[in-house]
């Protein structure tokens, strides 16, 4: 799923490890979500949204609305 996680993280100068510690997940999880290889569960998506003070939709792009390649 396309998302803005990398941009949001970069804006705060956080490394993947920093973000992983804040979310209480592994660095691999952050990497997998950032690169779109893994779609987080709803609870984790809410946790991410809460951390950045945004809504889930402001971070993750609705797959149905993703531009077709």
């Amino acid at each position: 799923m396309i998302n803005r996680l990398r941009v949001l993280r970069a804006e705060r100068a956080w490394s993947q490890q920093d973000l992983a510690e804040r979310l209480e997940v592994s660095r691999q999880s952050v990497n997998a979500i950032e690169t779109g290889r893994y779609d987080p569960s709803l609870p984790l998506a809410f946790k991410i949204a809460d951390l950045f003070g945004l809504t889930i939709e402001e971070i993750f792009t609705n797959p149905a609305k993703e531009p077709k390649q």
């Binding site: 209480e24 997940v25 592994s26 660095r27 691999q28 999880s29 990497n31 997998a32 979500i33 950032e34 690169t35 779109g36 290889r37 893994y38 987080p40 569960s41 984790l44």
Partner: protein, 136 residues
């Protein structure tokens, strides 16, 4: 890479089980050399090397319950499913070939060995999937 609590518990448990497997197997083989197994005690002694291996299946299941990182849990689940498919496919195919006298008889515990080999295969597939998607 630092391991989380569930990973540490799993690793320590597997190491202890493997150590107990080696010791138990050696003990049973030595015992069997001098006292052929028979009767109820024979079944108990003969089963002893199987218990640590069965224990590994249990601790993998316990790990999946205890792992709080959903991505890691998904990866290990995929790894176990690959291992199961790999072992069951070969065991099934071999069973039919053996049934038609095309291959020699193989002890059933080789299914467990295949399953452990399948875990290695699953780990490789997880690694390739991670690299193809942007690396870790």
């Amino acid at each position: 890479m630092a391991m989380n609590r569930a990973q540490k518990r799993y690793s320590v448990s597997v190491m202890l089980l493997m150590a107990s497997y080696v010791l138990t197997l050696m003990g049973v083989v030595l015992y069997h050399d001098n006292h052929p197994l028979h009767g109820p005690l024979g079944y108990v002694v003969g089963l002893m090397p199987a218990f640590p291996v069965i224990g590994v299946f249990f601790v993998l299941g316990r790990y999946l319950v205890e792992e709080r990182d959903e991505y890691l849990r998904m990866q290990v689940t995929r790894q176990a499913l690959i291992a199961t498919g790999f072992a069951m496919s070969i065991a099934t195919a071999w069973g039919f070939l053996e049934n038609f006298d095309l291959v020699p008889h193989v002890y059933a515990y080789y299914a467990a060995i295949l399953w452990f080999a399948g875990l290695g295969l699953g780990a490789c597939i997880n690694k390739v999937a991670a690299m193809r998607g942007g690396g870790e």
